[in-house]
Symmetry: C2
């Protein structure tokens, strides 16, 4: 009995659901399905996506939550997931792994999404997590990025900006204009570390939303993907974007920077025909989350962001988070379409 | 247009096959299937699984090959895969990425296994690759680890030990008893860097093999998993394990160390009823690979390794590769069952 296998057995082996073959063979087996299988994969890298001293329970939660969020954006029902763990020796620690597993499995159990396979390896540098998640959705009902049409409303769930604000405070950015940093961090940190994936909303939007995406890199950048895939433009009212009291208390440029440009929100941004407004509101209520109209799709070009008075917003945040930044054409009040 | 998206577009975006939604949405969509979906995931970490100066084309090949090998061990037909890339800035380089993509896609095309999604992120340390692969197999035909029965033959495909020998030479181990290191490395390096997954053999063994596994951690350790899952023991003849001329030229203890303990072989080890010998030989011939009988399953306990004269082998290699080694009970001539 070796250390690696014992460690996997102790923390990550569970009985696979009926019809599935789980951890402990060369492959997991997912049951045949009449629906399409939605697949999403995410890497989480220490120092990029989480701090070295992260609460392992929160890390377990968030690594699965960001993948569930991708299923939500597709209108898919979670089925199962596989986990890759590259661990430096200090992480091969019962307390750390058991807290990580507790956070991971609490969310997995809440969404009926079992762990069915994985890979564990040593890393000589930091911790890297890889999760690939599976969901089921009738192919015709899947919410794609490409379905937005001129005239559609643009909606967003929940509030935006808290995770970005919390991250700036944790990173020690000195110029963030808040008086009581500890109080603001306490109010916003949950959004960064314990995001709640909008799976129920995604399911409720089947047949209703024309396009959807989850906000991982920032509203402007992610909405830009929807518009590019749909071949449309949009007009977005910056002051209609819903924010928490903590973000609302910021000066306008900072408020917009966090709400429009901030990543890690894991809310859904979606489009729907204007005549479906009442049904969208009902779907959101059924899913237990707020949904707010923030703009409208048009024939374009590009994404035009205006303030409450209809004037172009001059100090737009950069186009979201980019892991490999390259020079971007700076066009005040307008973003180039991504593709 | 940002650097990350441009980089993905340039090197990794291809048109998804009919019925699949590929790179460029929140999830990929795999078509409904009457068969079960076999899923396997692997992490490859720089410094653990490949050298920093690895040929990127070989790395692209090998990262997919090790996953195809898991499908082969299950008797599954490759369907599609997703790729996670955590890259330090020096790797965000057109020449490196295009060579990596060339090696990856050449193998993907050869096996009809398209890339349908992924995730790219920056790493501040080394390169980490994550691949999750999908295959299809009728659930009843899947080759599991748990099907071996007393009386079954134990078989292995190809030859074992070359990859381990090449790795020892590349690591500069000074005590490897070879006269001409360069010549031996030239003869064995291909097995380490360009493994050929035994997908055709896995398919040919459906309905024929009682259990199968691919040899990634070493024959003794991987066969141990089959025996543990099947609740059996086995007697294995060390001198029947097929080796290349380079490994055959080593002194016996070294030959056994490489062939029985060496990882990264990506050959199949499988069991089949004795009465199926002729059909196994035909299946291997059809798949274009040698298959050699190396022992027999029995009621146990444990795995007993003997030499050509039937005597216990005294200097068994350690039980394969373990990423998190812990003290192992040293039982000469016998390995504890893994679980």
């Amino acid at each position: 009995m070796s250390g690696e296998f014992e460690l996997i057995r102790r923390h990550f082996t569970r009985t696979a659901p009926a019809g599935m073959l789980g951890v402990g063979d060369d492959c997991a087996l997912l049951s045949p399905s009449a629906d399409a299988t939605a697949v999403s994969t995410d890497l989480l890298v220490e120092g990029r996506h989480f701090f070295p001293d992260v609460d392992p329970r929160a890390l377990g939660h968030k690594s699965l939550a960001v993948n569930l969020s991708d299923l939500a954006a597709m209108g898919a029902k979670p089925t199962a997931f596989v986990l890759g763990l590259a661990l430096p020796l200090p992480r091969v620690d019962d307390a750390w792994l058991s807290a990580f597993a507790a956070g991971l499995f609490a969310l997995a159990d809440a969404y009926g999404c079992p762990l069915v396979g994985g890979d564990t390896t040593r890393s000589d540098t930091g911790t890297t997590l890889s999760i690939t998640i599976f969901g089921s959705v009738p192919a015709q009902a899947a919410l794609r990025r490409s379905g937005a049409r001129p005239g559609d409303d643009i909606w967003v769930s929940g509030t935006l900006g808290d995770a970005d604000l919390a991250l700036r405070l944790l990173l020690g950015e000195r110029d963030v204009p808040v008086a009581d940093r500890a109080a603001v961090l306490a109010a916003t940190r949950g959004a960064l570390e314990w995001p709640e994936p909008r799976v129920a909303l995604g399911l409720a939007l089947r047949g209703l939303a024309s396009a959807a995406i989850d906000i991982s890199d920032g509203l402007l950048q992610d909405l830009g993907h929807v518009l590019a895939a749909s071949g449309c433009g949009a007009r977005l009212c910056a002051d209609d974007v819903p924010v928490s009291p903590a973000v609302a208390a910021l000066p306008a440029p900072w408020r917009r920077r966090c709400a429009l440009g901030g990543g890690d929100a894991y809310e859904l941004c979606f489009t729907a025909p204007a005549e479906a407004r009442a049904r969208v509101a009902e779907a959101a209520a059924r899913a237990g989350v707020a949904a707010t109209r923030i703009g409208a799709v048009d024939a374009g070009p590009g994404l035009r962001v205006v303030d409450a008075g209809g004037m172009p917003v001059p100090d737009l945040p950069r186009a979201g988070f980019d892991h490999f930044p390259m020079p971007v054409d700076p066009a005040a009040g307008s973003l180039p379409e991504t593709s």
